[in-house]
């Protein structure tokens, strides 16, 4: 298991670094914000990408 800090609330989040995928989106168990796993070794979390809106197809 590995831990990383939530960039929003600084909560320590514990994950199995061998089973999560880079790019996977998870929820912070403390503040609920969506996080993206940007690295597994070392485990690194960032806020998940923003959702935008566009005209067109």
């Amino acid at each position: 298991m590995a831990t990383a800090a939530c960039p929003e609330c600084a909560a320590e989040i514990e994950l199995d670094a061998d089973s999560v995928m880079v790019g996977e989106i998870i929820d912070c168990p403390d503040c609920g914000v969506e996080l993206e796993v940007v690295n597994t070794h070392p485990l690194t979390l960032e806020l998940a990408p923003e959702e935008e809106e566009d005209w067109g197809e």
Binding site: G23, E24, V38, E52, E53, D54, W55, G56, E57
Partner: protein, 359 residues
Amino acid sequence: MTRLISNDAEAVAFLTELISIPSFSGQERGAVERFIGEMEMYGAAAEVDGAGNGVAAFGEGPHQLLLLGHIDTVPGIIPVRREGSLLYGRGAVDAKGPLAAMAMAAAQLGARPGWQIVVVGAVEEEAASSRGARYLLERYQPRYCIIGEPSTWSRITLGYKGRLLIDYTLEQPIGHTAGRESGGCEQAAAFWQNLLEYCRAYNHGLDVRFAMLDPSLRRMNSSDDGLTERVEMRIGMRLPPHAPLHELLAQLDIWRGEAELRTHGEEQAYIADKRTPLCAAFLAAIRTAGGQPAFVFKTGTSDMNVVGPLWNCPIAAYGPGDSALDHTPREHIDLREYLRSIEVIKAVLSRLTSAASPA
């Protein structure tokens, strides 16, 4: 002859040729044959299917990954030309650019053990029929699907609004303009106004367009032969998820009076799951290429609306280009972005079809 190595020049030449062949909806054959020819040169098993789609398959295996682009365009000839890194032409963005990017990525990657990567240049996406995509529905059940539509190279499209087209036709005997009966044009205008007010009420308090009911008056004309007047309107509705379609149709029936209504081109809004190996692969590939990824929801429709609900597999739309240029006389693509998107798609395909990919 099988071509084993591609490069940026070949990818640009292919896109330029594809854009140079007009392929308005229903007239795609020439572009489809060019697509087929190119894919065969890269070793794909390629054919024109029963709907007229260009289909190219790389490799064989129990798992299928479908790259679904469309090869038709809206009308309007835009002379193909280069201005620096910008390539102008109808379809450069919507959606020959994204189709060519997927095709080149699959071609450059080649066959993957245990997988069949299928690239489809579908016909009639720009027509309300979506004939090409519908033909695929019962013939494929892919494990992953990427829809080729412009999102810009660093964004992933997760959702499209739905659509409903409404044709309004009113015929009635002509009355004197000084009389008490309202004329056909006035009745049609009142119908439109009722619809606008209904949508305004539905949209009240909403701050994202994706969640709104969006009506547009696409055509309106009137005529008479001295005895009977005729008024016609075509109204397009962009539908949000969970649109109150049943209630809306009941209202339309009340407002129409003596007019006839025909509804068609209905598509439900669709939102893809972002917590999938497909989206994870895109996020990682975009970051690796130096981008800051984002998710996007579109106010238009695409073939995702058609295949997403039935295939129910991880799905996303991706492709180079600014969708604000869709259907405009300024349509163009930045070739640097096009080439970068090929690298992103290649990385995504490689990861999804690797032995380490979740089964």
